[in-house]
């Protein structure tokens, strides 16, 4: 769930308010969005992708809130890390451009059968 909007980093662009699919944020009186409906957060991490200021932190725990320490998250390079992996932001290479998914079948562990070209049609599976 979303746990942090960094007041220090936030540039008050309100992009997170606009893009959140479950409408978790409200615009704040001081310009910094507030987490108004945390329990509606679906832990999809997409607000972090869109945040140009690396000001948001979505914890991996989807069904419980946790205490977070902004300083620690910043020091460990966690803030903005998902956006960096996706490759959004100036000077970055988009992950789509280096996507290895088409090649993972080449390193499949033994005895897993996957028909070529229709990788997800194994009976009952996806």
């Amino acid at each position: 769930m979303i746990e942090l909007v960094s007041e220090e980093r936030c540039i008050s662009c309100n992009i997170c308010v606009k893009v959140c699919p479950t409408n978790v944020f409200d615009k704040g009186d001081d310009g910094v969005p507030v987490i108004a409906r945390q329990s509606d957060c679906q832990t999809c991490f997409i607000c972090e992708v869109y945040c140009p200021a690396d000001a948001l932190y979505v914890s991996p725990y989807a069904e419980q809130t946790v205490e977070v320490d902004e300083r620690e998250l910043a020091d460990k390079g966690v803030l903005g890390s998902w956006r960096a992996i996706i490759g959004w932001g100036p000077g970055r290479t988009k992950i789509a451009a280096i996507d290895t998914t088409p090649f993972i079948d080449r390193i499949l562990p033994p005895r897993t059968i996957r028909p070529q070209g229709v990788s997800e049609v194994v009976r009952g599976g996806s």
Binding site: P115, G125, S126
Partner: protein
């Protein structure tokens, strides 16, 4: 809702939903000359199951032999409820559309021969391109604007009403054609990107008398971190499973293994089949979203055990949805079209799951066809939608003012109470995965009781109004699912409907099941249309010995 909306627009085509299907539908309708409005509950670009992660596609080069083999394989896996001509149609259309999306800027990687690898899309990139393309095509986009009910007259649908949830306004869009692209229904089970998928379009279409098809094919759960949301599980192909004592368990992510084990106790996995740094790096650059929750929880998935759960995926990776009547994805309601997971995917998946590839291609193709069909329908309509004598069609979960289902006014109840009760009947493996007639009957009975109370919700503001309507949609969807499941007294290939009392596939039930109605639910059968493309006869399927559902 009040009778006059605060924001009123008129268009030719209204697209409800801003995931892939809605985006392609809006682009297609606009490209075919229609004036288009797209309204999404969230944001076109981030909403839905596709946007946060990535998706594989059913995509094959135009190699006739390869495609015929793939179609034959799918026909068998799908219990012969799919149609070869429709699978071929999807293969043709998705190839064209992937060439387009590459032209629009999607940076497909190429293999050693320079061939673009167009069978996988990263969600954020894909959907941000789609947003740009849709807007460039002249579509008016209403973000954060959930539709609540359709407008109708004797000619059929004529638009919709909803709310703009961030500025507390109501809206009304009049349009002679409407494309429902609201996705499936995953019952707020916290799957990745899936909590916006609450069956809203099923209810809106159902209130206009549309039929739904394949709702019994909904026995689908996805492995996810026990603590997290990530239901993208393909990389578990590199996992070994363990119990809480560290004993290795024999099993795979597919089939009954995880469901059976999780009823006994916790299951852990370690990705130790990716046993070199090279393999690990390759996997990290494929499904990056898979690693995110574990990295953040401080778990090294290649060496440390992580706990798994199964999250219910309803019709998202099930196959049921609004019945498609025409090649243009029209429904049986005048002017109403359906695309993506809001529509049944049986025509290309049969009784098997379309999750992981087929559904993504279906969204692209059905969106393209529905948009074109809706544009043609709207542009040939003789009356402007602005002058039609339209009335709002919503009857359930819209607050007391709209409760007109003929019953005495229901006692007040909160949406949260009803959602909990719906989830109690739909999410448990013991009811919905290990399906028995007795279990489904009892659950359906309880859902019928929930249904009687959906009009007792008293929303106090716009957000509660949306939640109340979602609650009604989930209750309706669950009842359609279990009614259909009790009507299919067999287990069909693909594993999406397995009934303990009837463990075998029954050739006499090689038909589709259509449900309709809200107070009383009717069920009827539909024979699978025969097309000219190669089909393996039913007798061959029975002889193959591989049709038993897993």
């Amino acid at each position: 809702m009040s009778d006059s909306a605060e924001r009123r627009l008129t268009a030719d085509v209204l697209v409800i939903g801003g995931g892939p299907a809605g985006a392609w539908a809006a682009w297609s309708a606009a490209t075919n000359g229609a004036k288009v409005v797209l309204a999404d509950k969230g944001y076109l670009g981030s909403s839905g199951a596709t946007a946060p992660g990535g998706t594989n596609l059913l995509y094959l080069p135009p190699d006739k032999e390869m495609r015929i083999r793939a179609v034959e394989q799918r026909m068998k896996q799908g219990g012969y409820l799919a149609e070869p001509a429709w699978i071929h149609r999807v293969l043709d259309q998705v190839y064209t559309n992937m060439e387009l999306i590459e032209q629009w800027g999607y940076p497909f990687v190429r293999d050693e021969n320079g061939t673009p690898m167009r069978d996988h899309l990263h969600g954020p990139e894909y959907m941000s391109i789609m947003r740009k393309v849709v807007k460039r095509a002249g579509v008016k986009v209403l973000d954060q604007s959930p539709a609540l009910e359709l407008l109708v007259d004797e000619f059929g649908v004529g638009g919709a009403r909803g709310v703009s949830r961030q500025d507390d306004q109501t809206w009304e869009v009049r349009a002679n054609a409407v494309v429902i692209a609201t996705g499936g229904c995953a019952f707020l089970s916290n799957g990745l990107g899936c909590n916006v998928l609450t069956g809203d379009g099923y209810l809106m279409a159902g209130e206009l008398g549309a039929e739904l098809s394949g709702m019994e094919f909904t026995r689908r759960y996805a492995p996810a971190p026990a603590f997290g949301s990530n239901t993208r599980s393909r990389l578990l192909g590199w996992a070994t499973y363990y119990d809480e004592h560290g004993n290795e368990l024999q099993g795979a992510r597919q089939g009954d293994f995880l469901a059976e084990r999780l009823l006994k106790g916790p299951v852990y996995a370690i990705m130790n089949k990716a046993d070199t740094p090279e393999k690990q790096a390759l996997l990290r650059k494929s499904h990056a979203i898979f690693f995110l929750p574990y990295d953040r929880a401080g778990i090294d998935v290649f060496t440390q055990p992580f706990p798994l759960t199964l999250r219910y995926e309803g019709t998202v990776r099930g196959t049921g949805g609004i019945r498609i009547a025409g090649d243009d994805c029209s429904t049986t309601v005048g002017g109403l079209f359906a695309a993506g997971d809001a529509a049944t995917r049986e025509r290309i998946t049969g009784s098997a799951s379309g999750g992981g590839a087929f559904n993504a291609s279906w969204a692209i193709c059905s969106g393209t066809w529905a948009g074109k069909g809706a544009a043609a329908y709207a542009l040939s309509h003789q009356h402007s939608a602005a002058t039609r004598d339209l009335r709002p069609a919503g009857r359930y979960g819209l607050g007391s003012a709209s409760a007109s289902n003929g019953t005495a006014s229901s006692p007040a109840v909160t949406s949260q109470e009803l959602i909990k009760e719906i989830q109690n009947q739909v999410l448990p493996l013991s009811i919905n995965y290990f399906r028995t007639e007795a279990g489904l009957k009892q659950a359906l009975h309880r859902l019928d009781e929930v249904w009687k109370r959906v009009n007792g919700q008293v929303p106090g503001n716009v957000l509660e109004q949306v939640r109340a309507r979602e609650t009604a949609a989930m209750a309706a969807t669950a009842r359609w699912m279990y009614t259909a499941a009790l009507s299919r007294k067999e287990s069909r290939s693909g594993g999406l409907h397995v009934l303990a009392e009837y463990p075998d596939q029954d050739e006499a039930q090689q038909y589709r099941l259509l449900v309709s109605g809200l107070e009383e639910i009717s069920v009827r059968t539909e024979q699978v249309p025969v097309s000219g493309s190669p089909v393996v006869p039913a007798a061959a399927a029975a002889a193959s010995g591989e049709v038993q559902a897993g």
